[in-house]
Amino acid sequence: MTKKFVLGIYDDEDVLLQAIENVRAAGTNIYEVFSPYPIHGIDDVLGIKRSRLPIVAFFCGLFGTSFALWMQIWMLGFDWPMIIGGKPHIALPAFIPVTFELTVLCAAFGMVITFFIVTKLKPSFKVNVFDKRSTDDKFVMAIEVKEGVTDMPALNDLLRSNGAIEVNEKEVIK
């Protein structure tokens, strides 16, 4: 199935931010915006909700802490108790470094793996990029065309009057 998109190309972040606001105010649904670098304030104008990845990191970290403590206490305290340096079997202060490291390890990897999954990032040889200049110096606003519903000339005018330097059409096979 092919989908058709109208691409508004911009070359300044501030013009783009203003354009997003105006286009949305005009009742047009923006499919996605592509930029060569993260733009501050774009989340608000596009209505992107705050990412919940920090929560994932927290719970993965909590898992790391509990796992590390359980592992050390079980191994040295219960499974094979040993007296080391005259200290108690469960010498909690000595268990802190490993606990800390495993907390960081689990939090970081848990969050990053989740990030790759939800953002659909994975190694692949084929990539669908709307406009290749969007990883160099252009900002691309993609708007999905619905056959018979979208008024193409009006959309073209709307994008151009809001600072688009080019307006292109692109078909993408999904």
Binding site: P36, P97, A108, T135, D136
Partner: protein
Amino acid sequence: MQHVSPIREPLVTGGKTYHDITEDVCRQVEAKPNIRWAAALAVALVGLAIFIYSTYRTLWYGIGEWGLNKTVGWAWDITNFVWWVGIGHAGTLISAILLLFRQKWRTSINRAAEAMTIFAVICAAMFPVLHMGRPWLAYWVLPLPNTFGSLWVNFNSPLLWDVFAISTYFSVSLVFWYIGLIPDFATIRDRATGPIARRAYSFLSFGWTGSAKAWSRYETVSLILAGLATPLVLSVHTIVSMDFATSVIPGWHTTIFPPYFVAGAIFSGFAMVLTLMIITRKVFKLEDYITLEHVESMNKVIILTGSIVGVAYITEFFIAWYSGVEYEQYAFINRATGPYWWAYWAMMTCNVITPQLFWFRSIRRSLTATFIITIFVNIGMWFERFVIIVTSLHRDFLPSSWAMFSPTIIDIGIYVGTIGLFFTLFLLFAKFFPVINMAEVKAILKSSSEVKHHPHGTMHGTDKDSHTNTHP
């Protein structure tokens, strides 16, 4: 929008546009390898060959190939290990701590510094693994039930903490570095002309498109990773220092070690970053991105951490006297006046005196002076570890077991070899990976470049010049 005080020096000079940044950074990735790069790689490969030969000798004949003896059981191996780990502290410090402190000058140096961190940690890891004597049993350090029953590893031992600290540090730094690389690989992918390059960078870029949603998550992930990496980077050298501090050897058994080692690590790491960046900016013509302002900022960190290290040396001496412990006092007198006096004074000169020259602004901003001083710091920090390890060990409690240490050719070979390994990896990185984080530099371009920007109105039409950042 961000506001930057007009008295701040620009971080990107030369009136660059977004496209110029892409061009300047991708140039050496896309160009054919030049002769100077190939020559440098050839030298590094000779070093790598020395490493492979010395490792072969060590594995085939055992660690008797090294100069260690019954009294001095740790010498060059652990010295080199701590030296490399210390060097490996700057990258994550720059990308994590400076990100949390919102220091924008980190953006053009973080990529190369993180790469350096990863390669330095690889070099560091070689030493404890080889020192095991039987590296094929290295998995015994993991908490696995061993062959003789369910006897577990000793979680009270700092050497085991080290296993967890270094491996966590390595893997988290690698992930942090790679996440930053993904958008830049996408840039190279979209410019690539050859089929091999396009496929390779396509694979490496994980299908990145730069959508607003992805950038939003990317920024969240970077921030949280920075938050996690900040205590992590401090924990690593703290734990390395505990390898010494938790023992009862005079000269090692001190509570000052963790902060003293961390400061020393940052000190040596920044010195190594500067040594490499001064060459890289020159060879790859990146003077507009790595400016004198960047060099000066790093030199300020060097003078701070160098002074902390200096204070630590003096504090150690004072506490040795103040403790009233005869053995502790002797260990320190022996460091400064014993048979290894030259190592001690080399350390003092290189680490305490030379960095103080950075109080002069003209020296802080001189590339030649900075380059020479950073070499001194690298040497001084190697001697620091040598002094701590060898001079504390070589005069044991019984004079009958006093001994001296002299390295064998294999000791020297492994050390020189890891330098070869490091530069092989760094040169491959510099050729095939973007050495500057393009996306992050583009993000600061509008607020931190030389060009003055007029505030934009809302309606620009298609008049191109009025809204690019190239025109004053």
